[in-house]
């Protein structure tokens, strides 16, 4: 064979290499442009494209401090964490119990309940806004504007998918383990905590990664249900986008500030994310 071989014996495919390098560059350039621009002064960014920055200069780090303090993205950043972490953990807890019931218990209307979960996975969350604004608003519970409103909403919206994912995973666990625990005198509650929950951690981590990204990146819920001092970095960034001209140089830095955490989650937890998606954790 005249073809060159890779270490594992497969032939080298020049066409694949060239195409994939081109696509990778194409996919990365937009983000790279943002990164470079965020380190350029306002005048430099207005005078030439970011790809000229390497020859024309105009570098600064002031945009970041300006966006963090001046545009209040620092507060938004903290708010995002306060919103996203509980909104990631709480649904898993609720969903895990439901998934356990769907997997290891028999009861009436079980299939009907599960089909309901599948059906509501597709329902657009837009249906919830008017009724939930009424319920959480001053004429209802009076929690609109507070963090708890978003925790409840994200927990509710994430629930169907979380139940679905965890149930899919739990049904791959051997039933015999649960049955022998029952024979040993364990209640369902004990079986859940001692056996099923620890064994389901990979699936929980997978869902947690995806849910965290959704909540962090969410615009709608945060915009509608948080008052301005509690609002997230994404809403702050959207407000910056609306006020072009004035803070154009802060916008790029702000965008990068909003991307840092999801990017970190992405880099560190990518394999959980992939596992979550391939096991059906796809938000409708």
């Amino acid at each position: 064979m005249s073809q060159r071989l890779m270490k594992d014996g497969r032939p080298v495919s020049p066409f694949s290499i060239v195409t994939m390098v081109l696509l990778s560059i194409l996919w990365t350039i937009p983000t790279l442009g943002l990164l470079v621009t965020s380190f350029r002064t306002r005048d430099a960014a207005a005078a030439s494209g970011w790809w000229r920055a390497f020859t024309e200069g105009g570098w600064t780090t002031a945009n970041y401090s300006g966006a963090w303090n001046g545009s209040d993205l620092g507060t938004g950043f903290i708010n995002s964490l306060v919103v996203a972490i509980p909104a990631t953990i709480i649904p898993i807890m609720f969903a895990a119990f439901a998934a356990y019931a769907f997997t290891f218990m028999d009861f009436r209307f079980k299939e009907l309940f599960f089909l309901l979960i599948i059906a509501v996975m597709v329902v657009p969350i837009q249906v919830a806004f008017q009724p939930m604004l009424d319920l959480f608003g001053p004429r209802g519970l009076g929690i609109s504007g507070q963090y708890i409103a978003t925790w409840i909403l994200h927990t509710g919206f994430g629930m169907p998918l979380c139940i679905y994912t965890l149930r899919n995973y739990m049904s791959t666990l051997p039933r015999s383990i649960v049955e022998s625990a029952k024979i040993d005198g364990c209640s369902h509650y004990q079986t859940f905590w001692r056996l099923v929950a620890p064994m389901s951690i990979p699936a929980m981590a997978a869902f947690a990664t995806l849910q965290f990204l959704w909540v962090w990146n969410d615009l709608l819920v945060a915009k509608l249900f948080l008052k301005s001092e509690n609002t997230t970095v994404i809403v702050k960034l959207q407000q910056l986008l609306g006020s072009q001209g004035q803070g154009a140089e802060l916008l790029t830095a702000g965008a990068f500030i909003s991307i840092i955490i999801p990017m970190l989650v992405f880099v560190l937890l990518q394999r959980f994310m992939i596992r979550g998606m391939t096991s059906g954790a796809v938000k409708g």
Binding site: D8, S16, I17, T19, M20, S24, W27, P30, T31, G33, A47, S48, G49, W51, T75, I78, N79, V82, P86, I89, I90, M93, F94, A95, F97, F102, L115, I118, A119, V120, V122, V123, P124, I125, Q126, A128, Q130, M132, Y147, I148, L153, G156, M159, I163, Y189, W216, N217, L219, L220, L224, I234, Q238, G254, A255, S258, F266, I274, T278, V282, G284
Partner: protein, 386 residues
């Protein structure tokens, strides 16, 4: 219920020596369970209200956040604990039947409150006036159907649906196939780079793409700062305000590119794992029979990953049906780029037309119904294959 326990005080703890005990109700456990659940909910409610109304007492937001995490997670744990105590207090036969519903209850309460009840309420509001105080029959539907803006949004949504899912799937298949032929390291790097936009919000994505599409309004002497205009002028064109360019819906296509850029990694990941699942011997057999790589791709690989292709297509389709953020931050529906979800948002909040807004959502719900049916069928088929 056991009334025959009068001989012994109800406080007696159940011991293993009394095999009958589990069959009878244990009022103490029932009481502890109910009081416990009540206290947990009451305590959590007050804690969270305190966060809202007296945030200064907690110092700063980080402390509130930590307390919220501990309270929320601990509260959920305690809630299930007391629920379990309550159920264990019931007579054994009853408890056995109640446990599953107890486990489902908290999750389903939230789903019911956030998704099921609002769906019916939305349908209800769609027959009412702008502030949902009186019924107006089909008036809202007549209004939106005779509104040109509604049909523009529908046409745009249809365009998005025709283009984005197909392009995302096609791109995902190509990348998955080609990256499979790279070395292990090359594959990992290439896939990570293409996957990365998945972590970026639509708002962040628009901040990124705005730099590409922007039109330099500064003095004429300045060089183009938008990448698209820089390429365009190098090719000899005049700089354009791309995002306002409505000819042939060009600006809508520019917005679609942003969503394709965001979603491609998702399609790639799923399709890639499907392609890795294609058995090597089917490929070998085709090669021995003299099939070209191109034929192998179409006749052997594609049929075997067809199920995944459909799944990815449907998922992206649903995402596109509800597309909102990108259009909202980029144009807010101006320059002929409006879509259904954005129109809804503006009707509800900018125009305060709750009736028309909910009618628009009902249209969206009707569009989604066939997909619900599809999802249920798909699930049933998968269950039968287990």
């Amino acid at each position: 219920m056991s009334t025959s326990t009068a001989a012994r005080p109800p406080q007696t703890t159940i011991s293993d020596a009394d095999p009958e005990a589990k069959l009878r109700a244990n009022p103490v456990k029932i009481l502890i369970g109910i009081v416990g659940m009540f206290l947990v909910l009451w305590g959590l409610g007050n804690l969270f209200l305190a966060f809202g109304y007296y945030p200064e007492k907690f110092g700063n937001k980080i402390i509130i956040g930590l307390l919220a995490i501990v309270g929320g997670v601990g509260g959920a744990y305690a809630l299930f604990y007391f629920l379990n105590v309550f159920i264990e207090g019931l007579p054994a036969r009853l408890a056995e039947g109640v446990i599953p519903y107890g486990f489902l209850l908290p999750g389903f309460l939230l789903v019911g409150l956030m998704l099921i009840y609002p769906t019916f309420q939305t349908i209800n509001y769609s027959f009412a006036n702008a502030d949902s105080t009186a019924y107006v029959g089909l008036q809202n539907y007549r209004t939106i159907f005779s509104d040109g803006a509604f049909w523009t949004a529908i046409i745009n949504n249809v365009l998005w649906l025709l283009i984005v899912p197909a392009v995302v799937v096609a791109f995902g298949v190509v990348v998955a196939v080609l990256s499979d032929k790279l070395s292990e390291f090359g594959e990992r790097v290439a896939k990570s780079l293409i996957f990365m936009p998945m972590a970026i919000s639509a708002v962040g994505a628009w901040a990124i793409w705005m730099l590409i599409y922007q039109y330099n309004t500064a003095d004429k002497g300045a060089k183009d700062t938008g990448m698209l205009n820089a390429i365009w002028t190098t090719l000899g064109g005049e700089p354009q305000v791309w995002i306002q360019l409505q000819t042939g819906k060009f600006n809508s296509f520019l917005l679609m590119i942003v969503l394709i850029w965001l979603q491609a990694g998702f399609a790639m990941v799923l399709l890639s794992s499907a392609i890795k699942g294609v058995p090597d011997d089917t490929l070998e057999a085709a090669r021995i029979d003299g099939a070209t790589e191109f034929q192998i791709f179409w006749k052997v690989v594609i049929p075997q990953i067809w199920g995944t292709i459909i799944t990815v297509f449907v998922t992206v389709f649903i995402t596109v049906l509800k597309v909102f953020d990108i259009v909202y931050v980029a144009t807010n529906g101006q320059y002929g780029t409006d879509v259904i979800a954005n129109l809804f948002f503006n009707k509800l909040f900018a125009a305060s037309e709750a009736g028309q807004a909910t009618a628009i959502v009902v249209v969206l719900l009707i569009a989604i119904t066939p997909l619900i049916v599809y999802q249920i069928r798909h699930f049933r088929a998968e269950e039968n294959n287990r």
